[in-house]
Symmetry: C2
């Protein structure tokens, strides 16, 4: 349905102007202060129009464990997470919807779901998430999370001679599942893309990474992975490869302009050069990096080296939210700690560009997405500037990025289709979703993780605790 | 009006129970799973009841500049702030209301307003803020922000021989204003307390600190101040006193159990011992410390040394919000960066205790406030656990502290009087407040600060930039 957003505030080079935006056949057809109304008229007085942001890294089913996970570093946190991971498809469906709702209501129009697969129901898990995202109408990059080594392999050996159980499924069997998923679900034109997404060097063999590169080349898919989230992973890379993880991934051909890498906390200066040269994207997940004590990603260095950076919420068990505006705020001001020269600090306008265009670049869709330009797809968000949290009036983008906006997203369009109107998701029944989430869960306190009990002594030893 | 909150979820030692809470004459009269309804019945099914939090450091009138301030470190940021500070009482009134609304709707029942005074209208400024807080019904500690040195004195000299203009008002004249304010407005029983509050060692002489100590002793008032927020202040203290700022404040008798100190980022281990011995309270303002690049306050060290810590939003120009739940979340997980032994990381229950009881201790009101106990004042907050942002159900306090709660505060009582019901402030018209804030402001972009232009070269030189 064609429409015209009338009298919205939009950003110019270093100011704002009031303009109307015509959307025809799902694309931006015109932007001007003097426009006839084409199609339906959308009044946008006192509203700010921005391109949609990208939630560039999450794990939707972690929503089931938000608020309850122990205060642990990643390696032990993962052990607890997997001990209590949801194993039914209904839950996968509900948490994908929940993740999408929170993303949409915080300015996101695209989500990258590094999706945890239920063992034995891998394709069904993917089908379920795809169905949820299609129903709600968010642009989704579904990145099935795969590995071919067992969890304990992710902790460095140190001086011990630890061995690990083999993973329960062969590398080739895993790659076959991914290729089946690609054939069945990869429909970028309809807003659903499949991404190859080995979990990271800590749990994957070179054979798995290489198999993913082949699939990526064969089907022109984006590539995704965790990278150097923790000190333990930095140590492990040296044990496994006798070089840094970035050097190794570069050597085996995993890094290119379609590759986005979540976290990137512990990289050397020469690693950063490799990311710049290969045009890889860093997905910054500031809240998860704080919650798990992983560290501060050197985002100002990335920016200075010309590495593209976007923002992710990470899974809701390590955050414990899916609010992109929160990730953008903290992921911007956090770095004021890392360089005392304030000239390099990230401005709110730069944050918005990272969240929108940076996100699009990381998904190889910057020609179609990520900015308000004629010809681009209409992934748009309209913010209500009369919300108390955005008052008094000053700089709208400054208020949005540096404040703590509440109930500010008025309307959202994805691919020109409206999915939020007057602050409410229009494509699914959110009240019903809340009831289902309530029904499928219970209030509880601390749980006892068997795997943590098995791993903790070794972890503390190797990490010098 | 007496009332009974029925069937609320309340925290036990390490779990939850469902109980009812009777409030009689503004105090908690009984807490039990089997209670008759006394007075009005308040249904609290699927709601969590917690003691109110304390927004232990803010500057309400900074709300007028949120979203627009440049990305600067404190010293230059302050110069810009003061160049554009609001100078009319109507604005003081509106921003005090705005600060109170955001505090209440994020779980706060008490605010400490380190209030910027309009020159020449000092008592009127205080009267205006007091009026706003009385109208809305939040418990307020109004701490008039005073200094007796000019702004430039707050930047270290380094090797230069800088001199500064004298401050426009004498130390004694300033102290006289504070004493007049105490006599006129200090009514703790009615929820309004005056606090002595020299801005900090960077802009105050010993005479001002000593005068404040006298007033504090004479009228039994709390004491407040900024302390060692930046590296520049650490440097300045050595220039002024040839010792640390904490050593100096201890020597002149400013530190005691009624003293709360905002920021405390750059303290030595022996400074921390002094805070512990004097029973001073640290007010942690994590967002402002990030935004201004001030650093990470060593909060885990404070806790291990037995120093009481509470949370503040700081003024909305350096945050740029007044959401206590955001300050509590970031102020908790931020410290997972500072100690790799996760055993010391702050748990959500500890965060809640810091925000409520820690806040009360810092204001010398822990016998009357800060926890759900029979006999204490009814400063209470009821959270709706069916909000999407708190679903699925897991650990309610974990969800509240680690999530990004939206629209979760259902009801708030201060001193037994209801000020929020069904998520809406009942004592003032918030819609009208929004209209007034809108009317008194305009959208704008970057401004040019004259004072920043004067100070920046010297600042960069002294700070080695």
């Amino acid at each position: 349905m064609d429409f015209t957003i009338e009298n919205a505030l939009i950003a110019t080079q270093d100011n704002y102007t009031t303009a109307s935006v015509q959307v025809v056949n799902g694309r931006i057809a015109a932007i001007s202060s003097q426009l006839d109304t084409a199609g339906v008229s959308v009044k946008a007085d006192n509203k700010l129009l921005l391109p949609g942001f990208v939630n560039a890294h999450t794990h939707s089913s972690e929503m089931w464990q938000r608020g309850i996970m122990s205060m642990f570093p990643l390696e032990l946190w993962l052990a607890e997470l997997y001990d209590f991971a949801p194993l039914d498809l209904e839950k996968v469906y509900l948490s994908a919807l929940g993740t999408a709702v929170e993303t949409l209501l915080s300015g996101g129009t695209t989500v990258v779901d590094h999706l945890v697969l239920i063992p034995g129901k891998e394709l069904e898990t993917i089908a379920t998430a795809v169905r949820a995202y299609q129903e709600i109408g968010i642009r989704a990059f579904v990145a099935p999370l795969i590995q071919d080594e067992s969890l304990a392999a992710g902790i460095p050996c140190g001086d011990t001679k630890q061995t690990h159980e083999p993973y329960f499924r062969s590398t080739q069997a895993t790659l076959n599942i991914i290729e089946a998923a690609i054939k069945q679900f990869h429909r970028p034109g309809e807003g659903i893309s499949i991404v190859v997404a080995p979990t990271g060097i800590q749990l994957c063999t070179d054979a798995l990474f290489r198999g993913c590169v082949e699939l990526s080349d064969k089907y022109n898919l984006c590539r995704h992975s965790h990278l150097l989230e923790t000190k333990a992973q930095e140590k492990l890379a040296q044990e496994k490869y006798a070089c840094t993880a970035v050097e190794h991934l570069n050597r085996i051909g995993y890094l290119d302009y379609r590759t986005s890498l979540a976290h990137c906390v512990h990289l050397t200066d020469s690693d950063i050069e490799i990311l710049a040269k290969t045009k890889s994207t860093v997905v910054h997940n500031p809240l998860s990096n704080l919650r798990l004590g992983s560290g501060i990603a050197p985002v100002l260095k990335y920016r200075q080296a010309g590495v593209n950076v976007s923002f992710g919420c990470d899974g809701a068990s390590s955050n414990d939210s899916q609010d992109l505006l929160e990730a953008i705020k903290i992921g911007s001001i956090l770095h004021n700690l890392t360089d005392k020269d304030y000239q390099y600090w990230i401005s709110p306008r730069q944050s918005v560009q990272m969240a929108a265009l940076g996100g699009a670049i990381g998904l190889n869709m910057e020609n179609e997405n990520g900015s308000l330009e004629v010809g681009k797809k209409a992934d748009l968000v309209l913010y209500d500037l009369t919300s108390l949290s955005l008052l008094p009036r000053t700089d709208p983008i400054g208020l949005l990025v540096l404040g703590r906006p509440v109930n500010v997203v008025d309307s959202v369009w994805v691919n020109g289709k409206q999915v939020v109107a007057e602050g409410e998701v229009t494509t699914i029944d959110v009240k019903n979703l809340r009831q289902e989430l309530f029904k499928h869960s219970e209030w509880q306190t601390k749980r006892k993780s068997k795997t943590v009990a098995e791993l903790e002594t070794h972890y503390r030893l190797v990490m010098g605790l």
